[in-house]
């Protein structure tokens, strides 16, 4: 019942996110043929932009005019949206009773808190799978329509899945540790943007160690394009997600259910 109720609470939000991401991706992919055709003009424009700025935004002049290069740049922005949505999904799912201050309602019912947590996370997992499957289907459509070479794309898209999953769990972790959840969108935007900016700072400055603190680094599509897909990076992110999930679960089950 909790599973069904959570889906009922959230399906509109999930669909809104999925369609927004698909529209964003679709619009940009639709202009790719024109972009490719006018590549020399674009190159002249882009070459006037400072190198550090281009680096910060993940623009690699050697690859951006290829389908994969263009998509990897675009996918960097999609990842930001995936991260934000994933965090928000987790925060709202696990923190719903804090947001509505309705802990006394749900947690006093004859249902194990473990079950509540697992059913809520299952809804989050479905939202993540639905989002990434939709992106993949749209990609397949574009590949078919534009006769694009898709080598390496699947791996890139898979990183989006791992990233969104990580952010879903990070959101649920925050939902457990933060006492008051009055502004979920503000918190989600703040945390996600901070992590993204940390990644950009690590990318353009000498403070490379900062990368390690941002999940966006481990799934950076531009870096993947130049250095290749890294099992290690994805494993680190996945391991981090599992660790956070464990902490969030224990916190959820063991902490007092205080109405604040």
């Amino acid at each position: 019942m909790i599973f069904r109720m959570e889906l009922r609470f959230s399906w509109k939000s999930y669909l809104t996110w999925i369609f927004s991401i698909l529209i964003f991706l679709g619009l940009f992919m639709a202009v790719y043929p024109a972009f490719e055709k006018e590549s020399e003009t674009f190159r002249a424009v882009v070459e006037n932009i400072p190198a550090a700025l281009l680096q910060g935004f993940g623009v690699d002049l050697n690859t951006i005019f290829s389908p994969l290069g263009f998509l990897s740049y675009l996918y960097g922005i999609i990842q930001l949206l995936l991260g934000l949505s994933g965090f928000l999904f987790g925060l709202r799912l696990i923190g719903r009773e804090k947001i509505y201050r309705s802990m006394s309602f749900l947690f006093a019912k004859p249902v194990a808190w473990t079950k509540i947590f697992l059913e809520k996370m299952a809804v989050g997992l479905i939202a993540v799978l639905a989002t990434n499957s939709s992106i993949y289907l749209l990609w397949l459509l574009f590949r078919q329509m534009m006769k694009l070479d898709g080598a390496g794309i699947e791996q890139m898209l898979a990183t989006g899945l791992i990233l969104q999953l990580f952010m879903l769990i990070l959101g649920s972790f925050f939902a457990v540790v933060v006492k008051r959840l009055e502004n979920p969108i503000g918190l989600a935007s703040g945390v996600t943007m901070s992590l993204y900016i940390i990644h950009i700072i690590g990318r353009v400055t000498e403070l490379k160690f900062l990368h390690q603190f941002s999940p966006f680094y481990y799934v950076d599509p531009v870096r993947q394009l130049s250095e290749g897909w890294s099992i290690r990076d994805n494993a680190i992110l996945f391991g981090g997600a599992l660790l956070l999930l464990g902490i969030a679960f224990v916190g959820y089950v063991k902490r007092d259910k205080e109405e604040i």
Partner: protein, 295 residues
């Protein structure tokens, strides 16, 4: 048989005291008042009984089972109305009650309808549109929906109009007749008096006293405010502890037989008189000042 037995309950929130060494028990079918000022530890005690917060020490047995370890099983037989009622604002009343009912293996649709009729709740209304009083009514309905054997009510009447309060008290008496045990917390002494057979008084996290209603009646305390000529008032200064004294008016905390008070006042030419319930703190001070002095 004790439906609820609490021994040496202790709960701190960091360094802040919640409750300390709270012990009491409830007999089957009784209405037990739990009274104390705000922040005294009433809600903490109720939430410990529900297993929502984990005690630092002590033991809570409900129907002979451990409140923490057997929380899920016990929750089937416990109804809870929190002091401040909050629900999922976007849901309708009917949807919320269906959700609440889904946690129990019984068909509660008829019960839902009956209770909503009793409480005059519109099932189709969105919770966000409900007034505070109606949210409270919804809280009452969802707490009673599954026919619990033990009802934990935290400040249940706050937000209810007098008519609805009376109706609610009648409902509780009906439940009691059906064998339901009720623990009823409040900071309004008169309210608890109307309903409870025994009363526990809690202050600064500790149980100060547990009294039967008869014992409490013996210690009947009223605030008496009189306006009259000073000559008359001087003659009444032995009535009780004087709270306010100014020419032409007095406020006393009177304790004792109310008939004696009426006899003393009858025949006097008073300009004004009011007899009201004192603040809980005043009652506590009145009750326990002497005891503290003795110590």
């Amino acid at each position: 048989m004790s439906v609820l037995e609490i021994k040496g309950l202790k709960k701190y929130y960091g360094k802040q005291r919640g409750v300390e060494n709270v012990s009491f028990s409830l007999n089957e079918g009784e209405i037990f008042g739990f009274i104390g000022p705000n922040g005294a530890g009433k809600t903490t005690t109720l939430r410990c009984i529900l297993g929502l917060i984990f005690p630092d020490a002590g033991e809570i047995k409900v129907f002979g089972k451990d409140a923490i370890k057997d929380r899920v099983e016990l929750a089937k037989d416990i109804g809870y109305l929190p002091g401040e009622v909050f629900f999922y604002e976007k849901m309708t009343v009917g949807a919320l009650l269906d959700y609440a009912a889904s946690f129990f293996d019984q068909d509660l649709s008829r019960r839902k309808k009956e209770l909503c009729e009793w409480m005059e709740l519109d099932l189709k209304k969105r919770i966000a549109e409900l007034s505070l009083g109606n949210k409270k009514k919804l809280g009452i309905v969802q707490g009673l929906l599954h026919r619990p054997k033990l009802l934990l009510l935290d400040e249940p009447t706050s937000g209810l109009d007098p008519l609805m309060q009376r109706r609610f008290f009648n409902l509780l008496r009906e439940e009691q007749k059906n064998g339901v045990t009720i623990l009823f917390s409040s900071h309004i002494l008169s309210e608890v008096r109307k309903l409870s057979e025994r009363i526990a008084i809690i202050r600064t996290g500790e149980i100060v006293d547990i009294k039967s209603l008869a014992e409490l009646e013996e210690q009947n305390v009223k605030r008496v405010h009189l306006q009259a000529d000073e000559k008359i008032l001087i003659g009444l200064d032995d009535l009780g502890e004087i709270e306010l004294s100014s020419p032409g008016q007095r406020s006393y905390l009177y304790q004792g037989d109310i008939n004696y008070l009426i006899d003393r006042l009858s025949g006097l030419h008073l300009r004004n008189v009011s007899i009201e319930e004192p603040d809980l703190e005043e009652v506590f001070m009145h009750y326990y000042e002497g005891a503290t002095d003795d110590l």
